[in-house]
Symmetry: C2
Subunit: 346 residues, 2 copies
């Protein structure tokens, strides 16, 4: 007899075109079969990733705009896919068995019915906590690794500036930069985060951008010898100020623009003469284009985490119902490190 | 007996902080000796280059701003150096003799006293007109060559957009792109220039940006399949519109920002989310960083000019006194191709 269960999941009520609020979301329920069809894998979700870029997928964009993006638009009432770790409940594929730990594209829900073609891999935790496989060993981790080494092309001794430095990506970039032999300054939005950057993550210096009335002067103060690399997570005025303080042949890696996701941010009005005369390169990138670096990335970060050379910051909320507030909090800077929701006990 | 002569040259009366007018300049006179001291070469200037970037050197910038630039600031009352072709009048160096044709850093004047260390090379015209050695075979030429091949990294069949396409650099970039097998559309500021791009230089299409009320729509119309490469000479709103119309992994090469030189232009407010999601690279560059490509560049363009595969556009005014109006005209778009002033008969 086919066993069916109720699966609760989070959906948007309608498209979101500004800063999100909890009311934009609802818990929905569907009935799913726990007997996997051929080529299907049914996964009980354990830890799921909460990422700012997902807001972009929730906008009412025209189809012409969305085709350039990797991730499909999120539709009201529908399940929202996300990176996560889970455990196989039933498998219609020979390569997965009941109770296997898996990592891949799951859902903001209790269960995911993973159809063929959707990203799913068996997970060997390698002695590291499961949430690490959502954060520092997941897409945020690859973003930091590929962004810093492939896009920023660092040289030892260079001056590196990281914005949103206590976030999932920035916290890793700063640590990679320090280990590589760069001078690293980060900025964040609270004294607590600033202390953490300096005391726990080993940044050479850090500041609270909310305390600064003039970002240009602030960067001049923190970088008397100029900035060689800017790892930008925020865009807007911070990007303008960083370009103004860059050295010749400086590089800007852009991996997200949190100031623009909510539509409330000011676009940066860059001094393009600076870009020309200082021969600056500004490059947008996505981790998905750097899967060729995946092997190097995993072996490097696993080693650093095990030996304690790097710290993983995971900010975990509990329960499916906490997803909307966890997500909304990203845009207020509530999280420290990678935001993850634990859906079920391991 | 030492022969001395009067040397007339052009100087600025004071620093220029906006669009230049002819009144900003004056003709000055100095007495120079025609007996070259040891290691000096005295050159009679024949053709000198007139370039928009020189305005930037005429601003009253702070020293901290100017140190990042390659060219020293221009001081009121002083001689203004520029790329040019001349003939040796007297030489205190064994490697130059009277009547040698030379190319290098000369002056907006009748004569240049070239001291040791200043760029000067013997010129073999290789059967090409002397003005070609100031323009397409000079720094504008290297800017176009290195910018297109090294910065834009073209692939056959890609869609290339060139702004200021009838200018010294743009006219060459468009021709390189066509010869390379790209689809090329240029924009310029008059119907006459547009006709020239299509009829003489072989651009696939061209438009007058002054006729367009919405640059974004114009680019959508001219690039229904999107832009892969944008060679930007102007910055401002054109750069915004180009980024909005770029394809994934698009590249923007920035070699000058004529809208910003005069301080009157609007800085581009770029949609950085586009830059991230489309993984766009925006790169400033200067020809001076690409001297390693000089040999390739010279052999390529010499061949193309001789065989008629490329056209050189030289826009020549005559007489030292015409320099201020030639220079001022650059910012009104008066020139077609490389602006050069002939100072003396060959």
């Amino acid at each position: 007899m086919e066993e069916v269960i109720e699966n609760k999941f989070i959906a948007i009520k309608s498209h979101i075109n500004g800063a999100p609020i909890e009311f934009d979301f609802e818990v929905k329920t569907e009935t799913i079969s726990l007997s996997a069809k051929s080529k299907e894998v049914i996964v009980k979700n354990l830890y799921v990733s909460i990422d700012p870029y997902q807001l972009h997928r929730m906008k009412s964009c025209s189809s012409s705009q969305t085709t350039i993006y990797l991730a499909a638009p999120v539709q009201p009432g529908q399940s929202i896919d996300t990176y996560g770790v889970g455990r196989v409940v039933a498998s219609g594929r020979p390569d997965f068995a009941k109770d296997d730990l898996v990592v891949g594209l799951l859902a903001w829900g209790e269960y995911t019915v993973v159809e063929e073609g959707r990203l799913l891999n068996k997970l060997d935790p390698m002695g590291l906590p499961l949430p690490y496989h959502v954060g520092p060993l997941g897409f945020s981790g690859l973003t930091a690794y590929a962004g810093f080494f492939e896009i920023c092309k660092p040289k030892k001794g260079e001056n590196v500036f990281v914005s949103a430095a206590s976030g999932s990506v920035g916290s890793l970039v700063g640590q990679y930069a320090k280990l590589f032999g760069c001078h690293v300054v980060g900025c964040a939005g609270s004294q607590k985060k600033v202390d953490l950057l300096k005391e726990k993550l080993g940044f050479d210096d850090a500041f609270n951008y909310k305390d600064e009335t003039d970002l240009n002067s602030a960067l001049k103060r923190y970088f008397p010898n100029g900035i060689d690399i800017y790892f930008d997570n925020v865009g807007g005025e911070m990007l303008e100020a960083a370009v103004a303080n860059m050295n010749k042949f400086g590089r800007v890696a852009l991996c997200g623009v949190i100031s623009e996701y909510t539509g409330g941010g000011k676009r940066p009005a860059l001094e393009m003469l600076d870009v020309v005369y200082k021969r600056i390169t500004i490059q947008g990138f996505l981790a998905a284009d750097h899967t060729k670096n995946y092997g190097d990335f995993i072996s490097t970060i696993t080693d650093h985490l095990r030996t304690g050379k790097m710290q993983a910051l995971c900010d975990i909320s509990h329960g499916l119902e906490s997803i909307p507030s966890a997500f909304v909090g990203l845009f207020r800077g509530d999280n420290i490190g990678k935001k993850i929701v634990q859906i079920a006990h391991e």
